[in-house]
């Protein structure tokens, strides 16, 4: 164990140092890595490119012997497939026949009828050839490849191809090798054409097989200008007998001498065929690749919280791919030639090597504290994961090594590759990917810095460059709630499946791309597999149409009269001036008709070369090369013989030249032949014919393409009937065109929600509290109003100076007169309220209001540093003590909010702000000022406190800083440290407790206990005791939240007392910022970076939770004992309240976490960076995030498990939590000045309450109501 731990420590230290190294010198390391990748891949250049094309190997004929099976030592350039006997030997007899001299009396059919007829006699000759010598008598029957049945699927070829005998194919097969049938055939071309496949065929056709030369070169057509017919008789031999073949060659040459033929006959070519890849064979391959891509997709989707997600994903894939290439390269370097099919094993190799490490690294680095230096972050992240990475790698190596000992060659080779791949992958991860990651993180830090700078300068932060790739342009509304959507990958996570598919199609323009790729592939296949087709056609076209090519035969029409000038027949002139219309420029030899010169009659109309010239060129030497490379495999496949991974040997052709006299041609004529009209314009029609096929193909392809496009278009329309990006179709239930919708134009049908405005407050709402039935709100003026949440009626108004009326102290009695004034003033203050923002108007207002104002210079010398926000010079103004207190309310809420956000360490002077002083008489102020002054002296740089302080009254009556509502009791905590209990219905003060001296910053009211957190960090527990004189304690059946016991309803007769049961003086070292209570626990968060958990009953501190590196800004706890806390460091911690252990710790925000809500499955957080993040609660993985507009406010609420509501600028937005879609945005008022929703309460009846300047909005969410029913 100790060894293991030591090892572990060493490994992590090494990784740490390595991380520092990588992050410190990124560029040199990347250069070094690229260089090593290239070096390792260099040997790959020597490998042949993969393909299914056949491979050739040429040997001499003379010393040929069948290669042995055993690999020999002196392989030399001999390929490794050249072992053992070939499948077959191919002996072709190449026949060139012409009727010579050509006679004008001959008809076009004569061009090929009698030459083809000669094939039968040649066949006889070959079949009957017998060679006898000392070793015995050999005939073709003994040597040839005996074939049996045709493949069952080829019945229609039965009549044409030989069965049960020698595999000997020639054009004579069309007529069953019977001369009689040939002579009786009225239309040879029709017979030949009959067997051609319909439509486009890319592989060898029957015509090619039988003729042995590509159809274009046979010359069997009516429009053969050369009048030379070429065909082969192909003999397939199973064994090689040099003497028999030699004697046959000599015999044929002797019978049909080719005078000027100098074809080389000393080389035989062995052709090795690769494995055929049919469609069926491709299916498993394609499947594995699909699985591979799914794997890569699902893996890279997890990369998050980096600057460029796709950049890193690319880097990850590059890492894996180049490690594979490196492994192949290294293996090749050390003499291991890959024999496995690379394409087949590649997906498995990728899966074995995997992307896991890369992702783990990324996640680990990303989850290090953001405030660290990049170098340290990388180093820390690396060392955190070092152990698991090493462990995984060791395991994988073990598995692969085990595989190596299976001793199966294929598996061994795979394992070898995998081992080298794993090692090189590790190398690349450590050097390449880590460095890329460090660069990325650094970029993010820079971007982060840029983003934060303007905010710190106190200006409204301009929106920086889009953090996410997609950003919706702001809708036309002046200040709408703009939603920035996330990257497509995240959206995919959350969209419904059907839409996801459609969106995917639409976004990637998949249909178009598939068509494009398909077309390209199709063309590629066509060109690749049909060398006899398009390629040669194009070559022929080029050579024919080149002006230098052939002026007489091809370029110029014959009737132009060029021909007579050059009478044919002279060999030299023909050679020099009339190059024959052959693609090859210079034939080696020409054979002319013997009497060609004499018999040639120059005819003006007839084509001039009356002597068909039989030429033997280099291209005839290996005429089979012009055939499709599938020629031989398809011939053999007809007999169920595969050539895959085997080879055939092609023997040198035997040239046969046949000259026929016109008489012979005429004799062999069929009676019907003469009925054929002579071709009027042969060239045109010939061209027309070839052109027509091409055009046909083109038209067919075009039509198919158009059809495909139409089909896909229809499909597309059916699948996604919405108009993307157009305003044409508006969803029926949406009436407000300016509602934001997502960037696909998809707007989910949500019924219209209209907010109910609760008006009455004269100043910005400061506190909100609700128990479901009642809603209490307190404004900056100190006025508390109680509303009915069902109807929105205002039930009670507790004015700020109501204290005096309460009768608890007679001292206040003389203040009664103010009530009427205040009431009157309330109404008038609504008008000038907006003007209040303007400093000038405020100043102008002062002289009017200044009445007998005693100065408080000591208090107001320390002004808040709000000058960037408020253009006012309050410092010079003596504080006004207004007789009309609400008059002074001006719209300050949003500004103050921002002010305290931006002045994170605010000066203590921000506390007593005259701008928010509320009504108080001089005398009252004098009396009440003392405690608050004392407080002010003690306050030191505390942001929450100072925030409250800016809104607190500077003099006179202390303001309400915290408020809670249970039953019909309102607990209000004041800045003076007083805790008051009010009757919500009657508006009477029931109890007051003045035990504490420090202002109450937060309150929790649970059952009959009140917990008050004070500014000095102490925590007071109060007990509310009800002495019921009438013994009545009725419980109102209020909709309690979850399992909270409904609060008792206190009747007005009860005597309520509030006792301080315990005061924890030093609960925190610094002010308590958050206080939450639920499930019998009280949780406090403080500026001192800690969270404390207290038991409610005995106020005993259970845990002090440490883990944040900043002040706590948000806490969430609910009945299920889930505790989440967010801090100024942007971290969110989930705690187990029972054990006090930290469940997870994630960094999600740059800046403070402002608000936290949990559902049963996820945690939702919002931060100062205007980002709303949704986390999986159990795993702590960020599911997705929503980028909001700057200054949107940070209020969050969860209405149901799947409905999230957020406050924005003058609006609230509803989100579907499952998919992250914006459901609807509800605008709270017509005035769209930048009033943000700062507080948002979700009531139990699926209504939400939010403050909106000095108004409250009550928004019912009908869809949720339906759901709840």
């Amino acid at each position: 164990m100790t060894l293991r731990e030591r090892l572990r420590a060493k490994i992590s230290a090494a990784f740490y140092r390595h991380g520092l190294l990588c992050a410190s010198y990124p560029v040199p390391i990347i250069l070094f890595t690229s260089a090593s990748i290239l070096t390792c891949c260099y040997p790959l250049l020597r490998l042949p490119l993969p393909g299914t094309g056949p491979v050739e190997f040429t040997t001499g004929v003379r010393d040929y012997s069948v290669p042995s099976h055993e690999p020999q030592g002196d392989l030399g350039e001999r390929p490794d497939w050249y072992r053992g006997p070939p499948v077959a030997y191919i002996q072709q007899v190449l026949v060139k026949a012409a009727v010579s001299p050509w006679d004008s009396s001959l008809v076009p059919v004569d061009v090929f009828r009698s030459p083809l007829g000669r094939a039968f006699s040649l066949l006889e000759e070959i079949r009957n050839h017998v060679h006898s010598d000392s070793s015995g008598v050999r005939s073709l029957e003994t040597l040839c490849l005996q074939v049996t049945d045709l493949f069952p699927g080829l019945r229609r070829m039965q009549s044409v191809l030989p069965e049960h005998g020698c595999l000997l194919v020639s054009p004579g097969n069309y007529w069953q090798n019977q001369r009689e049938l040939f002579d009786l055939d009225p239309d040879l071309l029709k017979t030949i054409q009959k067997h051609e496949p319909k439509g486009l065929h890319t592989s060898a056709t029957l015509r090619d097989l039988l003729f042995g030369v590509p159809g274009k070169y046979t010359g069997v057509s009516h429009y053969n200008r050369k009048r030379v017919v070429t065909y082969t008789i192909t003999v397939v031999l199973s064994s090689y007998d040099a003497r028999f073949l030699g004697s046959m060659r000599a015999r044929l040459k002797q019978l049909h001498p080719s005078a000027n033929c100098s074809l080389r006959d000393d080389h035989m070519v062995h052709v090795h065929f690769k494995e055929e890849i049919g469609i069926a064979e491709l299916i498993p391959l394609v499947t594995t690749y699909i699985i591979l891509f799914a794997y890569i997709y699902f893996s890279t989707r997890k990369i998050d919280m980096v600057k460029s997600k796709w950049g890193l994903a690319l880097a990850a894939v590059v890492t894996v791919l180049s490690s594979l290439l490196m492994s192949v390269g290294l293996c090749t370097l050390f003499g291991l030639t890959p024999t496995l099919n690379g394409g087949e094993i590649f997906p498995y190799l990728v899966v074995v090597i995997g992307l896991e490490n890369v992702l783990v690294l990324t996640k680990s680095v990303v989850s290090t504290p953001v405030d660290l230096e990049v170098k340290l972050r990388i180093a820390q992240g690396l060392s955190n994961e070092s152990w698991s990475i090493m462990k995984n790698m060791a395991t994988e190596l073990c598995i692969v090594l085990i595989g190596y000992f299976t001793l199966v060659p294929a598996i061994q080779e795979f394992c070898l590759f995998a081992v080298v791949g794993l090692v090189s992958d590790f190398f690349l991860q450590m050097f390449f990917f880590t460095t890329v990651l460090s660069i990325d993180i650094r970029r993010m830090e820079l971007a982060d810095l840029n983003r934060r700078l303007p905010a710190e300068a106190g200006l409204p932060p301009p929106k920086p460059g889009p953090l996410r790739t997609r950003e919706v342009p702001p809708p036309p509304r002046p200040s709408p709630h703009t939603i920035t959507l996330q990257t497509p990958a995240f959206r995919n996570l959350r969209l419904p499946k059907r839409l996801r598919v459609v969106y995917f199609l639409a976004r990637t323009r998949l249909a178009q791309r598939i068509i494009m790729v398909g077309t390209v592939i199709w063309i590629g296949i066509l060109v690749y597999t049909d060398p006899a087709g398009i390629r040669t056609y194009l070559a022929a076209q080029v050579s024919e149409q080149s002006p230098l090519g052939d002026p007489a035969g091809g370029g110029l029409p014959p009737h132009l009269g060029v021909a007579p000038v050059f009478p044919g027949g002279d060999p030299t002139s023909t050679l020099s001036i009339h190059p024959p219309p052959d693609p090859t420029p210079l034939p080696e030899n020409q054979s002319q008709g013997h009497h060609g010169a004499a018999r040639a009659v120059p005819l003006p109309q007839a084509p001039p070369p009356s002597v068909p010239q039989i030429t033997w060129g280099a291209e005839d030497e290996e005429g089979w090369r012009r055939l499709s490379f599938r020629h031989w495999p398809s011939l053999f496949s007809y007999y169920n013989i595969t050539l895959a991974k085997r080879y055939i040997s092609i023997l040198p052709v035997i040239p046969v030249t046949v000259h026929l006299s016109p008489q012979e041609a005429i004799e062999t004529r069929h009676p019907q032949d003469t009925r054929h009209p002579p071709p009027s314009i042969p060239k045109v029609s010939a061209d027309l014919q070839t052109d027509l096929t091409l055009y046909k193909v083109a038209a067919l392809g075009l039509a198919a393409g158009v059809l495909l496009v139409l089909l896909l278009f229809c499909l597309y329309r059916v699948l996604c009937p919405r108009n993307y990006g157009q305003n044409g179709v508006v969803h029926g239930r949406r009436r407000r065109g300016d509602l934001p919708c997502d960037d696909y134009g998809y707007s989910p049908p949500v019924s219209e929600i209209s907010p109910l405005l609760l008006r009455g407050h004269s100043m910005d709402i400061e506190c909100l509290a609700s128990d479901g039935m009642l809603l209490a709100s307190c404004c900056l003026a100190g006025q508390i109003r109680v509303w009915d949440t069902q109807t929105g009626d205002c039930l009670t108004v507790i004015p700020n100076d109501g204290l005096r009326r309460s009768g608890s102290s007679g001292f206040w009695e003389h203040r009664d007169g103010w009530d009427g004034v205040c009431g009157a003033a309330e109404t008038e203050c609504l008008g000038p309220e907006p003007l209040g923002c303007d400093g000038l108007s405020e100043e102008e207002g002062y002289p009017l209001r200044r009445r007998a104002a005693p100065a408080w210079p000591t208090l107001f010398n320390d002004q808040p540093d709000l000058t960037p926000l408020i253009d006012t010079n309050f410092a010079s103004q003596p504080p006004s003590h207004l007789c009309t207190p609400p008059r002074h309310g001006f719209d300050f809420g949003g500004l103050v909010e921002r002010a305290y956000i931006e002045h994170e360490p605010p000066s203590p002077s921000t506390y007593p702000s005259p701008s928010s002083n509320s009504s108080s008489s001089p005398s009252a102020a004098q009396l009440q000022r003392r405690p608050s002054l004392g407080d002010a002296a003690t306050f030191v740089a505390q942001d929450r406190a100072s925030a409250a302080g800016t809104q607190a009254t500077g003099d006179g009556e202390s303001s309400v800083w915290a408020m809670e509502l249970r039953g019909n009791l309102i607990a209000a905590g004041r800045s003076s440290g007083k805790l008051e209990l009010w009757d919500a219905v009657e508006g009477s003060l029931r109890c007051i407790n003045e035990d504490g001296g420090s202002g109450i910053t937060a309150l929790a009211f649970l059952n009959n206990r009140i917990v008050a957190a004070r500014l000095n960090g102490s925590l007071d527990f109060f007990t509310v005791e009800i002495n019921k004189p009438l013994g009545l304690l009725q419980y109102r059946g209020g909709p309690g939240r979850g399992s909270v016991p409904p609060s008792p309803c206190y009747s007005s007769e009860d005597v309520i007392s509030c006792q301080l049961t315990r005061s924890v003086q030093c609960a925190h070292q610094k002010p308590i910022t958050v206080l939450r209570a639920a499930a019998g626990r009280v949780v406090t968060g403080s500026q001192d970076h800690t969270v404390r958990v207290y038991r409610l009953e005995d106020s005993c501190c259970l845990f002090t939770l440490q883990g944040h590196s900043g002040g706590i800004t948000a806490i969430y706890i609910d009945q299920t004992m889930v505790l989440a806390s967010g801090g100024q460091d942007g971290a969110i911690c989930l705690w187990d309240v029972l054990t006090g252990s930290r469940v997870s710790h994630v960094y999600g925000h740059r800046g403070d976490v402002t608000s936290l809500v949990c559902t049963t499955s996820c945690v939702i957080s919002s931060g100062l960076d205007d980002l709303i993040c949704i986390w999986d609660r159990s795993t702590g993985i960020k599911l997705y995030s929503i980028q909001q507009e700057v200054g949107c406010g940070a209020s969050l609420g969860v209405i149901s498990e799947s409905l999230l509501v957020t406050g924005g600028q003058g609006c609230v937005s509803f989100w579907d939590l499952n998919f992250g879609d914006l459901l609807q945005t509800v605008y709270l008022g017509q005035s769209s000045d930048g009033q943000g929703v700062r507080q948002l309460l979700v009531l139990d009846n699926a209504a939400i309450i939010c403050d909106f300047g000095s108004e409250l909005s009550l928004v019912y969410v009908p869809s949720v109501l339906e759901k709840l029913d």
């Binding site: 493949f151 699927g153 494995e275 055929e276 049919g278 469609i279 069926a280 064979e281 299916i283 498993p284 499947t287 594995t288 699985i291 591979l292 799914a294 794997y295 699902f298 893996s299 989707r301 997890k302 087949e344 997906p347 498995y348 899966v351 995997g354 992307l355 896991e356 598995i399 085990i402 595989g403 299976t406 001793l407 199966v408 060659p409 294929a410 598996i411 495999p633 496949s637 595969t642 050539l643 895959a644 991974k645 559902t1159 049963t1160 499955s1161 149901s1200 498990e1201 799947s1202 759901k1267 709840l1268």
Partner: protein, 242 residues
């Protein structure tokens, strides 16, 4: 080809038994009185079953093809039709089998009360499927010296698959038992002459067949669990709402 055929048939037979037990279990978890939850659960289960079914059919077709290729290297032009005509009942059987297995795994997990937490991600599931296809590929395309070597290699690979992607005892035992049942069923089928193997070396079948079965069960269980993860969340959220 024949081996996949047998695999299919075997699994179908076992399926039948499992289906009965599975259907017995199905109503039990939905004890909550809320109709909506039941319907949602059943719909969810049907959806999951359908997805698993199609995955099974697809894998059956592809792997069958792999086996076909093992014997015939060069295909006549009409090979595509022969893929489907070989035995029409094979893919549906495979699909049903995989659906049942895929539903059975999460069900057993919840019965035992030990939810499977190991590598619950889609990328891991994809890796698992790839390895499964790779095992089939190896069995079809790699030339082994003898049958024992082939079977041992495949067994090691299958165990490795389980160790890499599952590591749960319930998964292992379920995989082994289903593999044994399926093997038995194949033996019976071959004995009764429904089909046969070219070169049987383990009574009537090939000796590596149980390994393939085992790997397939693990793979389908993995997929099923991953799918059930969604339903789990869904139901959780539903019940909370109620």
């Amino acid at each position: 080809m024949s081996l996949t055929l047998t695999a299919m048939s075997n699994s179908t037979v076992t399926r039948g038994q499992q289906q009965r037990s599975g259907s017995g279990q199905m109503p039990q978890p939905s004890q909550s009185p809320y109709i909506s939850v039941i319907t949602n659960r059943t719909t969810n289960m049907v959806i999951r079953g359908a997805m698993l079914f199609f995955v099974g059919v697809f894998l059956a077709l592809v792997l069958n093809l792999l086996q076909v290729q093992r014997n015939v290297t060069l295909f006549p032009p009409d090979v595509i039709s022969s893929i489907f005509s070989s035995a029409w009942w094979v893919p549906p059987c495979c699909g049903t089998a995989s659906a049942v297995i895929g539903l059975l795994y999460p069900c057993i997990d919840s019965r035992l009360g030990e939810p499977h937490k190991f590598k619950r991600e889609w990328s891991s599931v994809m890796r698992c499927v790839a390895v499964f296809v790779g095992i089939n590929h190896a069995s079809a395309k790699v030339d082994f010296a003898n049958n024992v070597q082939l079977s041992l290699t495949l067994a090691a690979l299958s165990i490795g698959l389980w160790w890499t992607f599952d590591r749960s005892r319930s998964g292992f035992s379920l995989g082994v038992s289903i593999a044994l049942l399926a093997t038995l069923a194949t033996q019976l089928l071959v004995y009764n002459g429904v089909f046969q193997y070219t070169s049987p070396d383990f009574l009537y079948i090939r000796s590596w067949l149980p390994c393939i079965f085992f790997a397939g069960v693990i793979t389908m269980g993995n997929i099923g669990r991953q799918l059930a993860l969604y339903e789990y969340k869904f139901v959780q959220e539903k019940t909370h709402q109620d």
